[in-house]
Amino acid sequence: MPAVTETRETVESLGSTSYKWGFETEIEMEIAPKGLSEDTIRLISERKDEPGWMLDWRLKAFRAWQQMEEPDWQKPKFPRIDYQDAHYFAQPKKKPGPKSLDEVDPELLRTYEKLGIPLHEQALLAGVESPEGEEARMPVAVDAVFDSVSVVTTFRKTLAESGVIFCPISDAIREHPELVQRYLGSVVPAGDNFFAALNSAVFTDGSFVFVPKGVRCPMELSTYFRINARNTGQFERTLIICEDGASVSYLEGCTAPMRDENQLHAAVVELVAMEEASIKYSTVQNWYPGDENGRGGIYNFVTKRGACRGRNSKISWTQVETGSAITWKYPSCILAGEGSVGEFYSVAVTNNRQQADTGTKMIHLAPNTRSTIIAKTISAGQSDSTYRGLVRMMPRARDARNFTQCDSLLIGNHCGAHTVPYIESRNMTARVEHEATTSKISEDQLFYCRSRGLSEEDAVGLIVNGFCKDVLKELPMEFAVEAQKLLQISLEGSVG
């Protein structure tokens, strides 16, 4: 079929030019020398003005990491990473945490402007609060993390009035040590896995959210991650805690400049939901994916886990993964509270030479726990995508239920899609359902749309968005539209 050759040619000609966020910001940075040792960790801890217990925690994680092997069971393969050949600390020279627009480095502001963060959000980023009586159009509090350092967090005061703490985790370590000590590493222990241990040793910043008993967080919280510096890894740490009856909706977004070398992003996210608490965690991941030949791009190796500790608590992960050279992560739920609910909604798009191995783990510990997994995988170009998921029903998980649906959509003839579901049931009353489909965007569908006047790109966008609808509708409304556009941009030129 001529369409195949054309597809390949179009995809090849397209390359990385479609990545609109690939610029670099010239900004004065303080960068630690390359290499990873106890000295590096001491330097990070000292620069962050951390208490002794934090340094000890880091060092313990580092020693554990030194004993560990880089895992290799995943489907995407990559050259060995030289962990001594990277910088582990980089921060804009200007002091972090400014109170007003004037104190933010104008270069940083321009960066966020160029990233196309919607205007209203920019106003928030700049820390300008709306005049009295004039409601901000979209009340979203933003934590902007630039090369692993939080540069601005908006709405901190407003949130504090309702008891919600939203701040860089480095501030939380100093200002709320009792909370951090109690919860940090309680869901993802420092020695949990190779990359989590590395993160625990060297993380430089991230977001901290604490919603006290009975409080519904009055606005969406969001963190915007930006990698800028060369040869640096990005290691953020996010910790979100909802006490009894509390709830929060949180969204993270991310981009990086185009570079020929790969950069490692090894973040850890921990969520804790107590009785009747609810946490909705959404991700729109748009790290630089590398060029058409697979050169460059981010290695996105992230550990995300939530613990439903209390009765009837709920944790919901929604992810739209379009970026990164390799995406390797499994946002998971540990359902320890009776009647607790775990959800995972995922859209993973790979194009050119991108690879993804992503999915979730639902660990049912308690009776009447429920989990839902909806995973949509879209592969184009010469990319390869794997859904890997574990559903585990433990002996106490009486009447627990899981429903899993995995759908793969292939565009062109050179891509791959794989589904690897693991199901373990140790309780006779537990019920586990798994459905999976694989399909291609058919020539029929494309021609039908085009004969109605839609351009090829619009036709693909419409079909793909239809395919992903079940997941996209889980995103906070303001971001669903952006996610739809992003899907379309990621697949630009993928059909001949």
Binding site: F447, G453, G466, F467
Partner: protein, 265 residues
Amino acid sequence: MVKKILIMNDFLKISGLSARIDDNGTPKEILRGLDLVLPKGEVHAIMGPNGSGKSTLSYVLAGREDYEVTVGEVTLDGADLLAMEPDERAAAGVFLAFQTPVELPGVNNATFLRTAVNAVRRARGEEELDAVAFLKAVRAETKRLHMSDEMLKRNVNVGFSGGEKKRNEVLQMRMLQPRLAILDETDSGLDIDALRVVADGVNSLRGPDFSALIITHHQRLLDYISPDRVHVMAKGRIIHSGGPEVARQLEAQGYAKYLTAEAAA
């Protein structure tokens, strides 16, 4: 000057059109030097036995890529139709009602329709319809076609009955306001009431700026949409053309007469 008048009259002009499709590695010739002229404002029917290339003709006119045009020309109002992408043809006013309408899972029917209408309006330099104007326009059409509003909320053609799919095609046609409609066996699988509704959907568009090619097996639809001319197609060519009486003769006598004449020629 003379030439210009000619073009005006030959709204759709197909000359010596041959096209083939790749049939598991070997090219298969389906259209073999087809000639056809459809003047502005006229409705013509194309009838012919199975495998004569009727559907291929409709696909080639709408721009389906699987078919390779080896020789021949097609002009629409003087413009080279074959040089246009399928969406450009839609913008130029070509509409194909599919014999087998395609399902689009997860794509809301109203969203699809509005996206299509606005894409075409944009390309034609017309103002796009906002949600309210669109809804008003589409409600008027669904009413005319005896369709429930509920069908707009469903996914495009997913779970539609055969008759519902065909009505949905006619709905799209009416919303897109084509200058050239090609109906590929839109009558197949329709009961008599649905047939009347579909025929009314076409007839009410008839006028000096609307032309149509009706591809059908049966006289039945032509009882409701009376064609200006009827063409008989066989083995990839038009082998006979005449007035509406041709359809009635075919219904009574079958294609044998034309086919033997063609074989002898």
